[in-house]
Symmetry: C2
Subunit: 249 residues, 2 copies
DNA sequence: CCACGATAATTACTCAGACAATTAGGTTAA
DNA sequence: TTAACCTAATTGTCTGAGTAATTATCGTGG
């Protein structure tokens, strides 16, 4: 029997300390979401009741409940009268939700999960590149060209360069015209981010990733699905290799 | 300039008319979510204010707000003081969220979107089958075997059979041990559901899908990734073919 | 004529407290 | 053992008030 979990009793509030546009309920959801993703609350754990918990956080029940609604909408928790609100099993979590991904990466991200994301990339991105090669219009191609140019100019050492990197991958997904693939954008971008972040952390920027990207771009511009798929496969594989290497030591 | 949208003013409430476990805020979120997915509220539209809207629905602002929180968590809307709450662009929607998928299919589902889902299946499921063939343990294999047996016994004409179908595909994703893939379970299941539903609707149950599934199972049991991937590719392709055929006339 | 800063109005946000509805879990009766 | 019932605990819903954030407006200065 999992006992009712008591929170770490810290305070939220500090209104100005949460960037513009962020409300109190958002801060609470943030805190709880990160706590759940970090394992502080395990699946099956029952949170202390609304009254107690909201008092401990020093917020109204209203704000607390709205935060819980958000978490429930993402499949992290479930509330029932008399039973309380409990953390759902991991399989119900909406791990690909951008916010949930953010919480997963807020603490010390699980190595296994990062590997999972890369596996997803390795599956989805080559296929997406092939579809993009078939369906791209000139506007999408311009977006890719621009992103590639910015990436070349700024390099991945700068935030602008990393943004360009994300934009490039994002442009490919959008070029597929497939809504279901476009939704995976956020997840893929997260994986892309961690590639560069790990490499950055290790100060070992071994390969220049621009040529890999350029090959993908050229294949899509040539409307060559097979080449695009293969080029992207190589790109992801090398990225995974770099990340794995950076994660080991 | 998009004008403030007035709701169709129907009433919720009828407490007993929403199955057990469903709360009022859930019913509201349901209604609004379906309305957004159906296009009744377009991206950019501004909903009438909390006070007005909640009065029109004849619910308290509390319940209305909690519903909006849930929609916001799924990327459907965004609220800001003074600006009101507006429907976000489609690219922000969490289309793979199980509930959002449900709303998308509640009305007359968009043909293009169904095609998108099948494309996703065609990309993900063969790769997942290959991974499952590599990594499956005996427990996972037993789950698949059981699902396949139930599927054979009940056929897809019964709810039990369709559940077994979903369980089979679900077992494969779980056998990959990849959390990012497992999350796609719900989305894939939705696509699977609509395959059978369309076929059901047309009364044209042409092919027996069991042999296709059995080939996948055997390949996974044999730990043969290539064969598993190919068998699944064929399975999805035939399912798409069937669905396309059922959608045309 | 344009840019910028104070100001006002609008809207969502937060709060407090009460009551209702639901349900898990124990109790009793068949 | 099983089923129906009761109770208590918890979330769910409501009201009404007040606060805070954001946008738009207007005036002022360049």
């Amino acid at each position: 029997m999992s006992k009712t979990k008591s929170p770490a009793v810290p305070i939220e509030r500090e209104r100005q300390a949460r960037g513009t546009g962020r409300r109190l309920y958002g801060a609470i959801a943030n805190k709880l979401g990160a706590a759940i993703l970090s394992g502080e609350y395990q699946p099956g754990d029952v949170l202390s009741g609304e009254v107690v918990f909201s008092e401990q956080l020093d917020v109204s029940r209203t704000a607390y409940r709205e935060a819980i609604q958000a978490l429930a909408a993402k499949g992290l928790v479930e509330s029932r009268p008399k039973a309380g609100t409990r953390v759902l099993p991991r399989s119900r979590w909406n791990l690909l939700d951008p916010e949930v991904l953010g919480w997963a990466f807020a603490g010390q991200p699980d190595i296994g999960f990062i590997r999972s994301l890369f596996e997803l990339r390795a599956i989805v991105e080559p296929a997406a590149a092939a579809l993009a090669a078939e369906r791209r219009d000139n506007a999408a191609l311009d977006t890719m060209r621009d992103a590639l140019a910015r990436m070349t100019r700024h390099t991945l050492a700068t935030e602008a360069g990393r943004t360009a990197d994300r934009d490039f991958h994002s442009a490919i997904l959008h070029a597929t015209g497939n809504d279901a693939l476009i939704v995976l954008n956020a997840s893929i971008c997260a994986a892309v981010n961690w590639t560069t972040q790990f490499k950055q952390r290790q100060r070992t920027l071994p390969r220049n990733p621009i040529p890999d990207h350029r090959r993908v771009f050229v294949a899509i511009a040539d409307r060559d699905p097979a080449a695009a798929s293969e080029a992207m496969r190589v790109l992801v594989e090398l990225a995974l290799e770099d990340t794995r290497q950076a994660m080991q030591p």
